[in-house]
Subunit: 529 residues, 2 copies
């Protein structure tokens, strides 16, 4: 996608957008607002950081207890390492040295989840999405000594403080730098892994748990640094992981009621929700994200047996199936368009049609399961009929017998995403799916997977096909590589071949603690422990 | 002065500095803390500003009522003109347009006393004194709409707001921009000028009154934008002007007790005082500024007949005379040194010796007057003796009969400042002083006057010599030129031949509302009304 197209995509919104509000659902969601838990953490080290975004590194360090002896004059700075990723609010003392303070201090305080954010100059940011996400503040201190209580929440491991200006007559130093963390996750609820789980998976699980923990706030946020809101694609994977780890089913229920309580035109479930300035659904509408409401409800019901919620939210779920089928043409295939109609994954070249068809079939099957549970015969009949149509459409239009792969769009593109979603959709039986995945691995389609989100679905597909060894190998290669690179949390995007890849045109705006990347804990605890 | 010398000068501090506190004096000063008065003012115009620091100008404007219709997206900005100089705190509403806010807003808000500060890029500031004085803030707004209440006090006429970042999906606009002003000056106490005063002097008086008003805060500040503290050189001229205008003698008394209550080593009165984080005298020590305590007390007593204060503060005043005499050598002349030992005026080349000698004689005479009033015979005798010595020294060492001018320093420099202060000191009688001033005007010494502070003393000297027409002409030419240039308040520095002159290496850090420039109201009301 060219930059202009990406901007078009990002700004793509529904025409004549209107929000439908189900007050009862919203009230139920609000009653489930979780408690936030806090812990006070401190920096562990003072680090020297050098390099550019391409080669940032720590060249030396000393214990954080030396901080009060670091005297900063105009242009002086210090980088603190908190030793792990945290989400919270920061306070610190600024002490005074030298002659009386004859000018206001100008401080620059920057937070980075990764070192690259610290070495990057904000003035050189060139990404397509808003640089408003850069966690950097300038503040004047008219009087030092003082205590600075920063009001915003940050997601970070590193904190840089620069004395942009003191004066020739005085200097400052820092002390008592504290971060009061925020999360709705409760660590004690996570069971320890059995001793049989090997060290590399234990480490991977720990990073995934930290990712989950830092994204669990008043809702399941997608990233505590960037976006900071409830996206349904992320919610689905967070909820699955949550069932294996923090067991906070109430938070999933809250998010389900929020999505059902705040829908778009024709009660389509939106791609994401905002909590402030008031609860509202975004005007971004995505084909796959709407359908995932069905998945979220199905997974929730499977976990909880909460029949009351299933009954109340069934209407919203079924509505998504109906709206999904509306996009299906006479040939039984979802209509492809050039706008940002479906997410699937970030590669700019990716054609979404086949994967979207896979998501449709996958979620219609879940809807059928729920209709069966509820014994809604009419819905069952309709969904059975729909499934026949779209499964037939997939085979007739999207399956390329000669290549032995699914193709997508007018140009019959072959991508990894198409194969993975068709496997998950179960268009073929398990044996043929195994062959399809192995053939895809041989061919290694040019349009690759670019996010942990898409890799999750690949691993899931492998496991569904009984290919647990391959699934584990993929996890070790992909998430394991992030761990080896020193990730404290799992990143939003990761390409082991191009480690500074960004879909936004600037690596530093990537989220380095991203909910959709947390599923190693789900896989490890469900299948490998 | 080279940059390094200037930096040395600025950072010049007393070795082994210690503050002497007279608790009773400080308590008396604190009991006199004035009430601050407030008024709510609004921008009058939205202006388009173009150019650089050398040629900033307004190209078009519209009424401020159009502001809510100015929609700002990433990079968009608006400049508001409040129509006059104000000192106060600012609040404004930020409204939201477009899709839901999908990223924090980053705002840049800059205040300027003059347009040049608005067009200047803060990142390119190159002055020697702290850029911490630049009135520019960056702030993230996580949720809009919102009301921003800026906590700091600003001195400004122009306010620029830039949406550094919104996002491709939403925009902002501003509304209800308000400034709540702060001053301890009471306008109703200022008497209207008689109708006989011509329009140009009325305008000059108005600008001077605004300067005074905006500098009158919890003390007489030197500049409400920059320094924002009590300097005794400024206090002396503010007090004189105050007696003719706002008549707040209590505020002068408070400042006298502060200076007397918080002295430096050997009870030398400091050049300036800080109010925060606690009351303290600066470690900058200046020969002339210490002696001006005598002038401030003498002027105050002449105005108020407040004998109790005179009696209480006499000891501090007399101590300054003693310390001043300590610097006098056997030749009866103050010792010259290359450090920042005396202020007088800003020209880098200015040698301070002769002018300092003039200040010493001027203030010893005032001390003698006070000693006479108090009938302190011993002090009278000592001061009489001292005066003989320094007057003789001035004539023997500093008077150059051949040139018909006073010279200063080892290189026998001829400057305007030396002549002016020797006239004010009354080393000669009035007739010879008239001749000296006329001869100086003919010669026009190379080392000129660079500030309204020095021009004040020139005008005062002319008036003391009975040269009222020349005094008026000087005022019209100098302060009148600032008025013609559109000054809302009188500037800290002004050279009609080099309008972007700065002693700090960067014009934009100059103070454009500066207390020591407010004396046209003193002269007009005392001598020309």
């Amino acid at each position: 996608m060219e930059r202009e197209d990406l901007e078009m995509a990002i700004t793509n919104t529904i025409e004549n957008f209107e929000m439908h509000v189900n007050e009862a659902f919203v009230a139920k969601a609000e009653a489930l607002k979780p408690t936030l838990f806090h812990e006070v953490v401190k920096p562990t080290r003072i680090v020297e950081v050098v390099g550019t975004v391409d080669d940032a590194k720590i060249t030396s360090s000393e214990d954080a207890s030396a901080l009060p002896r670091v005297i900063l004059a105009t242009g002086g700075s210090v980088v603190l390492d908190f030793g792990n990723h945290y989400v919270g609010r920061v306070s610190f003392k600024v002490n005074h040295h030298g002659s009386p303070q004859d000018a206001p201090v100008l401080l620059r305080v920057k937070f980075g989840e990764v070192l690259e954010e610290i070495v990057a100059k904000s003035s050189e940011y060139h990404g397509e999405i808003s640089g408003g996400w850069i966690q950097e503040e300038y503040m004047h201190l008219d009087v030092v000594p003082t205590t600075v209580n920063m009001p915003r929440r940050y997601a970070f491991r590193y904190m840089e403080v620069e004395a942009v200006y003191t004066s020739p007559k005085f200097q400052i130093s820092l002390a008592e730098v504290l971060c009061t963390t925020e999360t709705s996750a409760e660590r004690p609820k996570v069971e320890p892994l059995p001793e049989s789980v090997p060290e590399n998976l234990r480490k991977m699980d720990e990073v995934a748990l930290k990712t989950m923990e830092d994204c669990m706030q008043l809702v399941f946020e997608d990233g505590p640094k960037r976006d900071r809101r409830l996206w349904i694609g992320d919610l689905r994977l967070q909820a699955l992981t949550n069932y294996q780890t923090f067991h906070n089913t109430e938070l999933v229920k809250r998010c389900l009621y929020l999505f059902a309580g705040l829908t778009q035109n024709e009660e389509h479930v939106g791609a994401c929700l905002f909590l402030e300035p008031e609860l509202q659904v975004d005007d971004t509408s995505l084909f796959d994200y709407g359908l995932f409401f069905i998945s979220c409800l199905s997974d929730y019901y499977n976990e909880t047996d909460d029949r009351e919620t299933l009954e109340e939210l069934w209407g919203t779920a079924y509505r998504q199936a109906e709206l999904g089928m509306r996009r299906v043409g006479a040939d039984g295939v979802v209509t492809d368009t050039p706008d940002w109609w479906c997410f699937i994954d970030w590669p700019p070249a990716l054609n979404k049609q086949a994967a979207a068809q896979g998501v449709l079939i996958y979620t219609l099957k879940q809807a059928l399961g729920l209709a069966g549970e509820l014994e809604y015969l009419e819905a069952k009949a309709q969904l059975t009929n729909d499934l026949k149509k779209v499964t037939k459409g997939a085979l007739n239009v999207l399956w390329d017998e000669e290549q032995g792969l699914f193709v997508s769009g007018a140009n019959r593109q072959v991508s990894w995403a198409s194969q993975v979603w068709m496997v998950l959709a179960g268009v073929f039986d398990t044996q043929r799916n195994v062959e399809l995945l192995r053939h895809a691995a041989e061919v290694d389609p040019e349009v690759k997977m670019s996010t942990p989100y898409m890799y999750h679905h690949y691993v899931d597909a492998l496991i569904q096909c009984g290919l647990k060894d391959e699934a584990l190998a993929c996890m070790e290669q992909y998430w394991g590589s992030m761990v080896a690179d020193g990730a404290d949390c799992f990143y939003e995007m990761y390409d082991p071949e191009d480690k500074h890849f960004s879909s936004y045109g600037d690596y530093t705006i990537n989220s380095f603690c991203h909910a959709w990347s947390c599923t190693p804990s789900y896989f490890i605890r469900k299948y490998f422990a």
